[in-house]
């Protein structure tokens, strides 16, 4: 028991006006889906938040047709400057309604309110602002000669950053003149549906953005639809491979942002207190539900014990619990299925001989929870060093030389991100050059900005999102 007990500081959920059921957003209107309805629950309490329509093949077809019509008649004819105005308007509305979005995101996803409030929603708005600025400057973005939109874009996003991933997808697509059919994840559809309201509020022409909710079959219908010109997917490597196979031999383009098993590499000359913060932020931010999470800590052997001691002391101050409490650091695991996967992989870690530690914090009775967990004595062959756990679980490995750190960091089928902690600038540059990872952070971790491209090497996918590079997949160039 701490001497300084923090009294509950819950953010009010009154600001969110939840409906009991939601339809699909097609052609600027909410319509009933023809599939079965499914429930979206709060992972923190297992409370049913709303019923959501499942989009059938026919519904997806209607959405694609609406997007095609909007593209042909309105959006492709509109000047970039005018498209930009709509994007700015959406960005401003997101800022105005930020608290509503943050509360709903935390309810539906289970992530702490301080994170949805300070990271997800502000960044989502920032992506719209950033891409709005490009809308009338595409000819000058070094994309190639005569950049033009593909047409109708199908977008499938994951449950870990529902609103932020929506923004990553929709903002560049609209800025470049495409129209969109987007499917949010089946466990976190609610902020996307609230975003549909924002599209209405912004008077976005009907059909420019269509939101279809559902699970795998709905996603499959989008992937297979012949009216889709380009696909953008963020999610697991398994599904990414299925998509790549499905569109092979078709004219469809795709960007895939998939899994990761990032190495966070700490050298013995690192700023150690900040490195500990970076380790915590790398793997416990968003319950570790982060594709670029620093799930493998590579620490130089000479300071391994010191880092271990400092890290564990720090983890004992992490506050796990009610996502709507403003002092919560780690929220709920997003779903029963994900919790089961985390449990299975951590059990494997133990049975394979790694040493398990958790911070021993109390967990709520209801909902899906997992304590911040650290495995030491992990080797490259352990499953917890190879497979993406996508949970608050850190695997600690050691190295002796920079070469060994690079070899271990790159010895994975993934290559999304990496972190380097050292006070030596030259070593940072050398390491960044050697590491096969799309994003390399130096003396920080999990920092995102709309101006910075993001994407992977190897089985972490292809294509970049964010920055000028993030516009490229959404345009075709040449005569």
């Amino acid at each position: 028991m701490s001497k300084f007990e923090y009294a509950p500081a819950p953010e009010s959920r009154a600001i969110v006006d939840l409906q009991t059921s939601y339809g699909l957003f097609i052609n600027g209107e909410f319509v009933d889906g023809s599939g079965d309805a499914f429930k979206s629950i709060s992972p923190a309490t297992e409370e049913v938040l709303a019923e959501v329509s499942e989009a059938s093949e026919a519904d997806v077809d209607a959405a694609v047709k609406a997007a095609r019509t909007a593209y042909t008649r309105v959006w492709s004819k509109m000047s970039g400057a005018d498209r930009g105005k709509y994007l700015y308007r959406i960005a401003r509305i997101l800022q105005e309604r930020a608290r509503e979005f943050a509360v709903l995101e935390s309810l539906d996803n289970g992530k702490p309110i301080k994170e949805s409030r300070d990271v997800d929603i502000p960044l989502a708005a920032a992506h719209f602002f950033y891409n709005a600025g490009w809308a009338d400057k595409l000819d000058f973005a070094s994309l190639g000669p005569n950049p033009r939109p593909h047409g109708v874009v199908g977008q499938i996003i994951p449950w870990n950053f529902p609103m932020l991933m929506l923004a990553w997808k929709i903002a560049p697509a609209l800025a470049t003149g495409n129209t969109v059919v987007l499917k949010p994840a089946e466990t976190t559809p609610l902020t996307a549906l609230l975003f549909a309201e924002v599209c209405q509020q912004a008077d976005l022409p009907p059909g420019v953005v269509n939101i279809v909710t559902g699970a795998g079959t709905t996603g499959q219908a989008i992937v297979d639809h012949t009216g889709i010109d380009k696909l953008a997917f963020t999610g697991s490597t398994g599904v990414g491979k299925m998509i790549a196979r499905a569109i092979a031999g078709t004219r469809k383009k795709a960007t895939l942002e998939l899994g990761g098993k990032a190495a966070n590499i700490v050298f013995d000359d690192a700023p150690i207190d900040q490195a500990v913060e970076g380790i915590v932020n790398g793997i416990f931010f968003n319950q570790g539900h982060v594709c670029c999470a620093g799930s493998r800590l590579l620490v130089q052997e000479s300071i391994a014990d010191e880092v271990d001691r400092r890290l564990k002391r720090r983890l004992e101050t992490l506050r796990v619990g009610d996502p709507l409490d403003k002092n919560t650091d780690v929220g709920a695991i997003n779903s029963r299925a994900q919790l089961d996967r985390i449990v299975a992989l951590t059990d494997a870690g133990e049975s394979e001989g790694a040493e398990r530690w958790d911070n021993g914090c109390p967990l709520p009775d209801k909902g899906f929870w997992f304590r911040p967990t650290v495995f030491t004595g992990v080797t490259q062959t352990h499953r917890i060093a190879r497979e993406e756990i996508f949970g608050p679980v850190l695997s600690v490995l050691t190295f002796r030389t920079p070469q060994e750190a690079v070899a271990k960091a790159n010895n994975t089928p993934y290559g999304l991100s990496a972190g380097i902690w050292t006070e030596k600038g030259s070593r940072i540059l050398w390491m960044a050059d050697q590491l096969k990872a799309g994003v390399v952070w130096a003396n920080t971790f999990n920092k995102f900005d709309p101006t910075s491209p993001f994407g992977g090497y190897k089985e972490s996918g292809y294509g970049r999102e964010g920055g000028r590079h993030g516009l490229e997949p959404y345009v075709k160039t040449g005569a």
Partner: protein, 333 residues
Amino acid sequence: MSTTTDTAIDATARARDLLGVTRLTNQALTTWLHGLPGVDQVGCEARAAALGTRSIKTTSKKWAIDLAISMIDLTTLEGADTPGRVRGLAAKALVPDPSDLSTPRPAAVCVYGDMVETAKKALGPDSGVKVAAVATAFPSGRASMAVKLADTRDAVKAGADEIDMVIDRGAFLSGDYLTVFNQIAEVKKACGDARLKVIMETGELVTYDNVRRASWLSMLAGGDFIKTSTGKIQPAATLPVTLIMLEAVRDWRVLTGEMVGVKPAGGIKTSKDAIKFLVTVSEVAGDDWLDNHWFRFGASSLLNDLLLQRQRMTTGAYSGANYIADDSPSTAY
């Protein structure tokens, strides 16, 4: 006095022991201090900002406000100070809120050396409120060692329970760590039983690496407290600087088993700010430091804001500044 001489010998002997050297040279100190892990400025400031977003409500806020009041070194350090103003400050310390006698008293009043006797007399022997005196040619520290020691002894003789000394920043910044060490150790010797707070004047040290090194040097030389600032230089007590100092005392305890106090001083004016510092104390150094023996605020105007918030929590309404007795003579710090 033989006991105080022993303390000084102990500081050097212990330093030799901790550093693993047979003779304490400036080179040895430099190697040791420069071997401390660096501080990444961006990361440090981000951590402090994150701690500042903690939301402290209802019962915890009430507890934190009372704790913060009990940690204040109520301060007046003006050329224009008079015995009358110091008596006013002492009266405020004895009864911070005449409308609510359950209000805790601040930890100490902090004055110039010539006001110690006045303060001591005004507070009486049993109030529990300590008298702290700034010494060693405060605030610049630019005087000979003989003068600094005389300044210290004078305050102790007048009854000061605590001495707030300043380090020689010129020596520190030019890398003459041994001079800083020796001065602290000698002042500590001159303090006798009085607790020694070592003011590093972090605003003049500029970098967090320097703050960390000065903190370790002060602890090594025998300081009972490490303190940010005189209040005469900006910036004074920032949250990131205090965070670095709290990490230092935490790690010093791991190394030696001893606790050293921390005192941010200057610029902390609101209850909201004070609570951020307490959160940082709790989450960085640990709850053992949540006690006025180990953590202080050097402040003057902070007290009245805490009292205003305390009344608000008791009565449910803000009374306004005119309903809080304002006898604090200076507005700085």
